[in-house]
Amino acid sequence: MIDKHERSLSILKKNTMSDTKGRKNPIKKFLDSPSSLNLMYIPALLLFTLFIYFPITQGIKISFTNWDGYSAHYSFVGLEKYHFMFTDVKLRRVIVNTLIYGLGSTLFQNILGLTYAVFLNGKFKGKNIVKTIVYFPAIIAPLIMGYVWYFVFQYKGGALNDILIFFGKEPVDWLASGPRAVWLITFVNTFQWMGVAMVIYLAGLQAIPKDLLEAAEVDGASGFYKFIHVTIPLLMPAVTVSIVLNIIEGLKLFDVIMSMTAGGPGSASHSMSTMMYILYFSRQDAGYAAALGNLMFVMISIFGISVLRLLRRREVDL
């Protein structure tokens, strides 16, 4: 889509050039045309093809085999891995965990992030320090964040148990129960990323025109009413961004789980990502790992896209 103006310009340019140089070779001619700019995205496309699209097709192929992950020989087993996957009772727990990691962290991060943002949107000294501190975990490696919290939840000498002992209670082995470990990991993930949600909401809040809120005030709206009926609708673009981002990241959760429980006890706190890792490197069942990867791919795409659609519809234009 070149507009007329530019086209006439290029004709002008071409004319002047052909006056001086006569006929041009076709390569030079192509390089002068606007569509030659498309050459500039070739490296990017090449990388996408090699490291994303090609592996996706290979992943589908591997999931139909009994490949062990390293040997040269394998045979096609059809849908066996998928059949096994959908009848594996242990995997159901893993899928539920993945959903808790994804949806649970999203819920907590956004509620807390929004609450903090509303609080920090007020006027008082030192709010930048609070912002800096709350946001800080986002720059730490998730793996290390998991270790840091491990010192809190550890059974022997853990900081949380020290408090229980101080109040004369029995210490608890926090990470020894699968379901509890899943929620604690969700909590750690929330702690790490809620600062990002907070910053997104803070930016959203600051973009809301003051006169709209003042108009609502003149009409006699209470603070709470104003928040629900003016602030929230205008904040929907920020909500969309934050929620979609959190869901995708949460469903992929890997590092924190590895550092806090490594999927244990047993396989009770595995997410699909950590399960894939174990299947591939420890159990040498690459076919199954690839099948699980494909399921995850479909699951995350469906969640991501449908949530995006749902939320986009609720956005209002100013």
Binding site: M1, L9, A44, I52, P55, G59, F124, K127, G304
Partner: protein
């Protein structure tokens, strides 16, 4: 007045709660292994041996060097490739180019991790395991969608008249990009650098798969070994964690404004 006091009190409580895990980490890292006092109590002596031990007994220095090389390489490559790709995608929105754009951006929604098994196989096949170039290219590819999104969005806001004026002045199309557009991309490049620097520096998933030889391992990999290796010497592991946090923390404290707006912009990518 009471409202002000309430605000300050809340601000103080929030800050305190969010600092607790780091306070505990510092306490642990500065205590001897024999010290069994509660982690809530700071040591009553000054003790740096954990840091010395971690530095001399492990190859944290090598890991820091490896991580820096990978990070700098990946950031430079992804910026170059992403910038180049964004210019035609922003300036020539033909139907085909819009399709290419959507294809690039859709990899944001599609999770990278799910292709790890075939990706690992592919990297083995091209002899890229334990090499910096392979992990660098993988990081580059998986950060490209974000970078293309940010740059295309930004280039679209640059008036087209600028390109046309340059064309009249005799620049060819590539000169326009390098002389006119490229210098204007500075502000968005600052956010891009920070988003990708953090992502690559802190990466564990890709590194775990693609870097297995000790000589090429990155900081998160080495730290995960500390924790299994020093299971009964956690002060050492804590000291290691603390040391590994220093570079990014310093960068964060000095460039705070860019970090916060950078990640928020990077986040606004749906």
């Amino acid at each position: 007045m009471t409202k002000k006091i309430f605000s300050y009190l809340t601000a103080f409580c929030i800050s305190a709660i969010h600092l607790v895990p780091f306070y505990l980490l510092i306490n642990i890292a500065f205590k001897t292994t024999q010290d069994t006092s509660s982690r809530w109590v700071p040591p009553k002596y000054f003790y740096l041996q954990n840091f010395v031990d971690v530095w001399t007994q492990t190859r944290l220095d090598l890991a820091l060097l490896n991580t820096s090389i990978i990070t700098i390489g990946s950031v430079a490559t992804v910026i170059l490739v992403g910038m180049l790709a964004s210019y035609p995608l922003a300036r020539l929105p033909t139907r085909f180019n819009n399709f290419i754009y959507t294809l690039s951006i859709s990899t944001l929604i599609v999770p990278a991790l799910t292709v790890l098994v075939p990706l690992y196989k592919f990297v083995v096949d091209i002899h890229g395991i334990n090499t910096f170039w392979a992990i660098g290219l993988v990081h580059t590819t998986f950060f490209l969608p974000t970078v293309i999104f940010l740059y295309t969005g930004f280039i679209r806001t640059i008036p087209k008249e600028l390109d046309e004026a340059a064309l009249i002045d005799g620049c060819n199309r590539y000169e326009i990009f390098f002389r006119i557009i490229f210098p204007l991309l500075k502000p968005v490049t600052a956010s891009v650098i920070i988003v990708i620097m953090l992502g690559v520096w802190n990466d564990y998933r890709f590194s775990l798969f693609l870097l297995q030889r000790p000589s090429v391992q990155t900081v998160p990999l080495v730290l995960s070994q500390f924790f299994s290796q020093f299971q009964n010497n956690l002060p050492l592991a804590a000291a290691g964690s603390l040391l590994s946090m220093i570079p990014m923390t310093l960068a964060y404290l000095f460039l705070q404004r860019y970090f916060i707006s950078g990640l928020a912009e990077g986040a606004v990518k749906g």
